[in-house]
Amino acid sequence: MTYHLTTRAMLLASALALAPAAWAETPADTLVVAHTIDDIISLDPAQSFEFAGNDVNNNTYDRLVDFDPLDPDAGFQPSLATEWAVSEDGLSITFTLREDATFHSGNPVRAADAAWSLQRAVKLDKTPAFILTQFGFTADNVDQMITADGNTLTLTMDKPYAPSFVLNCLTANIASVVDMETVMANEVDGDLGNGWLNTNEAGSGAYVLSAWRPNEAVQLTSYEEYWQGAPEMKRVIVRNVAESSAQRLLLEQGDIDVARNLTPTDVESIAAVDGVTILDEPRGRILYMGLNQKDELLSNPAVIEAMKHLVDYEGITGSFLKGQFVTHQTFLPLGYLGVLEEQPWTYDVEKARQILTDAGIEGGTITTRVRDLREYVDVAQTLQASMAQVGLTLEIEQMTGAQVLDAYRAREVPIFLGEWGPDYSDPNTNAATFAFNPDNSDEAAAVGLLAWRNAYEVPAEMNEATVAATLEQDADARAAMYQDIQRQYQAEAPIVPLFQRIEQVGMRDGVQNWWSGGAISSVMYRQVTKGE
């Protein structure tokens, strides 16, 4: 402590003595990140389903398989599991666990912990549980379906799912391996430690959670016994800074190392600043336009086709969405298995007018609801202008995100403009919501499916193809199946993917190997270094 104080006193003295610039310099072994982290509700991996919460858990927990932050394109890699084998009938996968990993409590990581963690997530049945239960696990059968024996763990599924599908799902947050003994010591009223884990952590990851002050900061400390070696950054501090301009100032001053929510304007002005670099990283979110098929006008195939040509793709990505989005016209994000890179639609008002004239559509009025986020409203207004050119009137009501979501889930948004983020790193995550809707009736209440929310009656063969793709054992054949689905989707679907999100990360020079998690995962800190 004395040492701390003297260092601090010296730093302070030098800061006061020198120019103002020296006031601010983050310590060499500390990574300071500014981010909006006010969406964290829970840190329990069985429950957490928000971006900022997953950002924390990705670093405090390990999973059986994980991505290599230095080579994410390589896909899932051995992590706590060193190898795995699929049974002949394709119904089970047996994982062999490494024996040198320990939890932050000091307890060894055993196959029993890993099995219990998955069972626990299924039994708690919180929102992300579907990522696991889609393999046929239920609270009643999961103890038999997921078993541990020595240092092996066996998953038995109800169908022979594609191994890539299963393993991709096991990279998800909900598949994090938690320390059974520590968690059960904190169990209250049979909650399997959920209450305790909401604000605490019991993982084996490279970082230990040292503090979480909601809406304020998350502090992580390096785990010195980490099985892959202690990370270089000894402390990671994520501060909640809501304002882009405040993040920009902090970064310019060197008070933070990384700024994650810079607006295009701030990115532009900070790019010119000495000592700061901007990293563009494609994320998984897709900005799309959903045309509600309950609307008489919008269910006309000619209108659907015309609308695809009324979006000024280049104009939008070149102006107000510059740097934040790129044009992307399919429901799988770049970075996913089987993603289609074709872009069939261009902005062409004449063509749209022709399509409408040929179909005998004179015009019409649509009133829609748009979330009061600048990006969405701007896109809506651009669309409004180009629709006006072909005789279609668009009236826009701005609302809060929660209000729009309520209406959307009740199938009451005629033209939905918003984003969808994938839930896990397998193509099925988006295919199963954009291109799958087995029962389009109101009574089905499949509120989770985007196709249902837009009342899109997905053709039977597309529904079947989406299911079949989850069972294809060969990864290449699987990719080809997804490409076929996407082509058919582009040809007819009333849900029109428009743009893919790019995260523009502002960093001080010297910060190396930053990875926000790309399209497939969440941020990872253990590989980050800070040089000169």
Partner: protein, 356 residues
């Protein structure tokens, strides 16, 4: 007072008893009316929260939840109960000191408020201090030299203070004093070096670092609070100086002031010794109210300066349908106003010679 009661000592005890009774009754009345005020406040906030077109269950379970998960959360949150039952059980919990759990932080509301309230209190107290120390003399001088240069300056200062968006002023302040000059700390309550270093006692970083005797931490915290506090101080200064000025003008045109002047009292004695003393009472009310409004109303300042305070806590709660957070925060603000009223009541007794 020199006159003695002719009936003498015989009636004294009974009169004292009557007085005590009256006092007890008046205290009880005050407490009752305070309780009713707070209950009314709770009821109104509760109803507004329930009729708001935001689904709090969605906030908890998220967009991807199945109907079964949604229903389970709906019941767990007690939303299946009739509105009146929900309200009664909430009030019952509050009386037991349980404000429920916030759905946007996942933590008990009482714990959240214990964390965010000191941050706001510290900021508002310093802001009000700045507003009073500058605003009151400015208002008095402006009134004394009506139409003079100081009066004009004070008018412009107040006008700018009223009309400038705090958002813009805050960003400009940050840009100039933090970004360009480097005189103050950036957004946030503490620099990275000191974050979490000082043990939490009161939750107010300035006070806690003094308790810990850590001067470095104190200077750091001060460098972070001074800009937002000055900004809030500026706004309360604008209000306080205008009010002071108009109170003073009223007094200065009163006859006793003319009398005092005619008697040959120095101008300073007239202004500070007589007129100012008489405005002290309404001024205390103004200051207390301005402090109260800083406690709940500094949302934008809190957002710009990444200040994790009560205002942004309540606002965030409101936007996400987190009614426990909103109700808890509102109760705290309500109690603050009540206490401030009480406090200025007590101050009156000291300041007003008639009440002794």
């Amino acid at each position: 007072m020199a006159l003695t009661d002719p009936t003498g000592a015989a009636t004294q005890p009974s009169r004292r008893r009557a007085l005590t009774r009256r006092r007890v009754r008046s205290v009880a009345g005050t407490v009752l009316s305070l309780a009713l005020t707070l209950l009314g406040l709770l009821l109104v906030t509760f109803i507004i929260g329930r009729v708001m077109p935001i689904d709090p269950v969605l906030k908890v379970v998220g967009d991807r939840a199945t109907q079964a998960q949604y229903d389970a959360a709906y019941i767990a949150m007690g939303l299946d109960q009739p509105l009146i039952m929900q309200f009664l059980s909430y009030v019952g919990d509050v009386l037991r000191g349980d404000f429920g759990r916030s759905i946007s932080t996942g933590q008990p509301v009482a714990q959240d408020i214990a964390r965010v309230f000191p941050a706001t209190f510290e900021l508002a107290a310093l802001g009000t201090f700045i507003g009073v120390v500058i605003g009151v003399p400015l208002g008095v001088i402006a009134a004394a030299r009506r139409g003079g240069i100081i009066d004009q300056v004070a008018r412009v200062v107040a006008l700018v203070g009223y009309s400038m968006p705090i958002f813009w002023l805050g960003l400009m302040g940050l840009l100039i004093f933090y970004g360009m000059l480097g005189w103050v700390g950036g957004p946030g309550r503490q620099g990275i070096l000191y974050d979490g270093m000082v043990p939490t006692v009161t939750g107010m970083v300035l006070v806690d670092s003094l308790i810990a005797g850590d001067w470095g931490a104190f200077r750091d915290a001060f460098s972070h609070i001074i800009l937002p506090a000055s900004l809030l101080g500026y706004y309360s200064l604008a209000y306080i100086s205008r009010m002071t000025r108009s109170f003073m003008l009223e007094q200065l045109s009163a006859e006793y002031v003319t009398t005092a002047r005619v008697k040959g009292l120095s101008e300073r004695a007239v202004i500070w010794g007589h007129a100012f003393r008489n405005i002290a009472i309404p001024l205390v009310t103004v200051i207390a109210l301005s402090f109260g409004s800083l406690l709940e109303g500094s949302v934008l300042t809190e957002i710009i300066f990444s200040w994790p305070g009560l205002g942004s806590y309540i606002t965030r709660g409101l936007l996400s349908g987190d009614m426990n957070a909103v109700l808890g925060g509102t109760v705290v603000v309500g109690v603050c106003f009540v206490l401030l009223n009480l406090f200025s009541d007590i101050l009156y007794r000291f300041l007003d010679p008639r009440s002794t």
